[in-house]
Symmetry: C2
Subunit: 164 residues, 2 copies
């Protein structure tokens, strides 16, 4: 999970929501990635999707049998569905979404008895650190927005003063 | 849907499970794709994912607001999740999975009140044709497998006859 956190930190430094993912097979990291939604202008460029794609390329196989995926944040429905398709064996999650409902959705998918593969899940691994990266990122974003709003208001006021 | 069916036919001709997808905006097709799981050796290379990726590139945007996605087969959980992330407006489905449960999963996702976007869904469009493409494909695959098994059995028998 330390390596996935490192990926999330890279995402934050690039202005991306800090989520990182790492895929391990036989005790070795075979792929790592961070969220690239803004950089690639693609709503599906989540850390987990990119990491799975890289792992498939690395193994030259469409299935990631025997692989463990570490994700700093609970996966969304798309990523959870992709993990089932890729036959990921184990999923280790850092922190969960705050809303219980979203939590339910992803776990429903990876452990659904209706799909042809089920994934073993562990969560709460380095939870505090994974969560703190996200809350600090969003706090900084909110502060930047507030500062931009204040600057715009000051500029408007100055223009009005000039007109008067 | 005719164009999505055309894509599914191309998939079948390439030995891929025949599923096609087309994305329309303002009455114009902006992206089309067919299933490429075997060709790209990637479990996530579904028609809908590739079409969404192409549409994002075409529009230079990460959101597909105002777009309708036509898919010959009911989307899986991954594709359904990706459609919500991409903010697809409307989803038109050809044929549904036979198992009711899988059906529920994808529709639960695109219409979940817990996620921040919901998709309008129509299904059963050119249902018979979309379904026939799939059933014929799997019938052909089963026949090919049976023929291969028979050929292997014949070969074994000939070898045994030679030994005797």
């Amino acid at each position: 999970m330390d390596e996935a956190i490192r990926e999330a930190e890279i995402a934050a430094s690039e202005g991306e929501v800090p989520v990182g993912a790492v895929i391990v097979r036989d005790g070795e990291i075979i792929a790592r990635a961070h969220n690239l939604v803004e950089t690639l202008e693609s709503s599906s460029a989540h850390a987990e999707m990119i990491a799975m794609h890289r792992a498939e390329t690395e193994l030259g196989a469409k299935w990631l049998t025997g692989c463990t995926l570490y994700a700093t944040l609970e996966p969304c429905a798309m990523c959870a569905g992709a993990m089932v398709l890729a036959r990921i064996e184990r999923l280790c999650i850092g922190t969960m979404y705050r809303k219980r409902s979203e939590h339910g959705l992803a776990l429903d998918i990876v452990q659904s008895r209706e799909l042809n593969h089920r994934i073993e899940v562990s969560s709460g691994i380095r939870e505090e650190e994974c969560g703190r990266l996200l809350s600090e990122f969003f706090r900084r974003k909110r502060a930047e927005k507030a500062a931009a709003r204040r600057a715009a208001a000051d500029e408007n006021k100055q223009s009005e003063d000039v007109i008067r």
